[in-house]
């Protein structure tokens, strides 16, 4: 049985417009999340490091 999504996004999107730059809110959200993941990847300690140091 097919069920619909809880919050479907099939309606027209919102766009941010500044000079010649025109970017959707959805794309901006994804870009911010990607930057956040990159910062987290650099900032968080590498897993397993402490375990290796103990060996």
């Amino acid at each position: 049985m097919l069920v619909g999504a809880l919050f479907p996004l099939n309606h027209l999107g919102h766009y941010l417009h500044w000079h010649f730059i025109n970017v959707s809110v959805a794309n901006t959200t994804v870009m911010i999340l990607m930057i956040a993941v990159f910062v987290a990847a650099v900032a968080l300690p590498f897993p397993g490091r402490r375990e290796r140091k103990g060996k």
């Binding site: 919050f7 479907p8 099939n10 027209l12 970017v23 959707s24 650099v42 290796r52």
Partner: protein
């Protein structure tokens, strides 16, 4: 004599310890995490579900736009009819003195009048008036056809659609009004979609002709504009609805927004040339003195491997 160490070219041999690392384990964990995120997001937000635009949908929603486009295919003034390679002989975009499309030649030959108008009409069975009109058109001289085209073009501005008929107020266009009217009826019935799909092969997955015909009208562009999908709207990056799109294509679509690319009739090939140049630049970074030192001077690697450098100091 020992050669001087060059920091961005020479690679010193690692003399420290080694640890085992299970890359398959890491890959499996990444796959499972991405799978879980994908399933969760699809449960919450669904996925783009825009109905396909067909010739039937177009000609039903905008019959006059369809009829005008069909006429432009017949008289050879449409975008496809005059596109050039790979579809037909015509002037293609230029990158300085180079015409890259012409190098590839006409690989997908399209005769707009034959493929989009005459061919489909010839496939309609049991229509004596249409058969006669087609015979009249095909046996007429070029001068006669051009006179019909001129008359139809003049009347086109006041074209209307009533009672399932395309009404063009002219009597000097020969068989053209009947042909365009019958083709519009064929399009509205859905038969033209089938005719364009199945003409060249048994397998109906080649939508080239359907898409070219759609792109010659204004209906597709209007729908695309509403959805922010036009090239001038950074459309390459966008998706239908409110879904995120292909954000990684920002560098390609960026050029289409700024002069001289945005105002050039050779915009596509100029953007292509620019991207080739930038890609070559990126490819040769390790060989460009100064630029290849940037990562070392920025020192982000020291942040990533900070525990190693802390242990060293």
């Amino acid at each position: 004599m020992k050669r001087r160490y060059r920091p961005d070219v020479d690679v010193p041999e690692w003399t420290g310890g080694h640890y085992p690392y299970d890359i398959l384990k890491e890959g499996t964990i990444a796959l499972v995490v991405v799978l879980l995120i994908t399933v969760t997001l699809s449960i919450f937000f669904g996925s783009p579900d825009e109905p396909a635009i067909t010739i039937k949908a177009w000609s039903t929603a905008a019959p006059i736009d369809y009829a005008q486009t069909a006429f432009s295919e017949l008289n050879g003034t449409s975008g496809t009819a005059s596109y050039g390679a790979p579809y037909n002989q015509g002037d293609s975009q230029r990158l300085g003195p180079l015409q890259l499309e012409k190098w590839m030649g006409v690989r997908i030959p399209i005769n707009a009048a034959q493929d989009f108008v005459l061919g489909p009409l010839q496939s309609l069975p049991g229509q004596p008036a249409l058969t006669s009109a087609l015979h009249t058109f095909q046996t007429a001289s070029d001068a006669t056809r051009n006179a019909w085209f001129d008359a139809y073009t003049k009347a086109e501005a006041t074209m209307s659609f009533a009672k399932d008929q395309v009404v063009v107020p002219t009597t000097a266009a020969g068989p053209v009004p009947l042909m365009i009217n019958d083709l519009t009826a064929m399009a509205r019935s859905g038969a033209l979609d089938q005719a364009l799909l199945t003409r060249n092969s048994f397998y109906t997955t080649n939508y080239t002709q359907t898409l070219l015909l759609l792109s010659d009208g204004t209906y597709l562009a209007n729908v695309a504009q509403q959805q922010h999908l036009l090239g001038t709207q950074w459309g390459m990056m966008n998706e239908t609805g409110s879904y995120p799109g292909q954000a990684w294509l920002w560098l390609y679509t960026l050029w289409y927004q700024v002069p001289p690319y945005s105002q050039s009739s050779n915009g596509d090939v100029e953007v292509f040339g620019t991207l080739v140049l930038l890609s070559a630049f990126l490819l040769f970074v390790p060989f460009i003195p100064g630029l290849r030192s940037v990562p070392r001077r920025l020192g982000i690697y020291k942040l990533i491997w900070r525990e190693h450098y802390r242990d060293q100091s």
